[in-house]
Symmetry: C2
Subunit: 137 residues, 2 copies
């Protein structure tokens, strides 16, 4: 495909949602390149993200639109949205307020393995989830 | 959860595969932080990745194990594997040989939108796919 063919369709026409109407969105800090999280979008949340320039997802556990930071205040200001070759994965470049992870870390990817067995913490705790979301029963 | 609870299970016990037995793996250059692609792994490909320290995926289109670079030579040497809070997404930090994308770009995320309508190319073409994979009919 030439450059024209790859970019002549509109962005929204290029996105391929899966059988559930969802597309995964990888979220990356636009300055440091740190990967913060991955979440899922449906067409409505993607349109809202584009319109508000704040990341909005589809919560598969709560089955509803989810404006990131609506509870915690940890919003994501969206700078760019990239799309992959197959059109079935998005990459958002954002400014993250506070921590992205509901556990309190800066990134949801706060654990790593080198040997494939043990794990170690590799990120910074930014907030106490109980203070932000209240005590979970 | 305290740090002990978060890291006391083994890495493989922590990974949650979806109903198809797959988990998405985001792939990032371990030095520059550039996001190169996202692919899917089953347990077998994840174990192979850990063992060989070369990224190995499950190809959903070809329905088979896929050692990245087996056709193109563009292997991914794996440095670290991170796992997210929910255990259902992986992040691989790799050294990418050549380009990651089958279209010939360094990253599969070679198109971006700012306004949500038009797209522009935002990456570097690394190789000619016809030379690497042969002419596609």
């Amino acid at each position: 495909m030439g450059e024209n063919q790859e970019t002549q369709k509109s962005f929204l026409e290029t996105v391929k949602f899966d059988s559930k109407g969802l597309v995964p969105a990888i979220v990356q800090d636009h300055e440091t390149g740190k990967v913060l999280m991955m979440a899922w979008m449906n067409l409505e949340s993607l349109k809202m993200t584009i319109e508000k320039k704040k990341a909005c997802y589809w919560s598969r556990s709560r089955n509803k639109l989810w404006l990131k930071g609506e509870s915690s205040g940890n919003m994501q200001e969206v700078h760019d949205i990239l799309i992959d070759c197959d059109g079935d994965t998005l990459l958002l470049k954002v400014s993250q307020k506070g921590g992205a992870c509901h556990v309190g870390y800066h990134s949801c990817f706060y654990r790593k393995t080198v040997d494939g067995e043990s794990m170690e913490i590799c990120d910074t705790l930014m907030f106490d989830p109980e203070e932000v979301y209240g005590k979970q029963s």
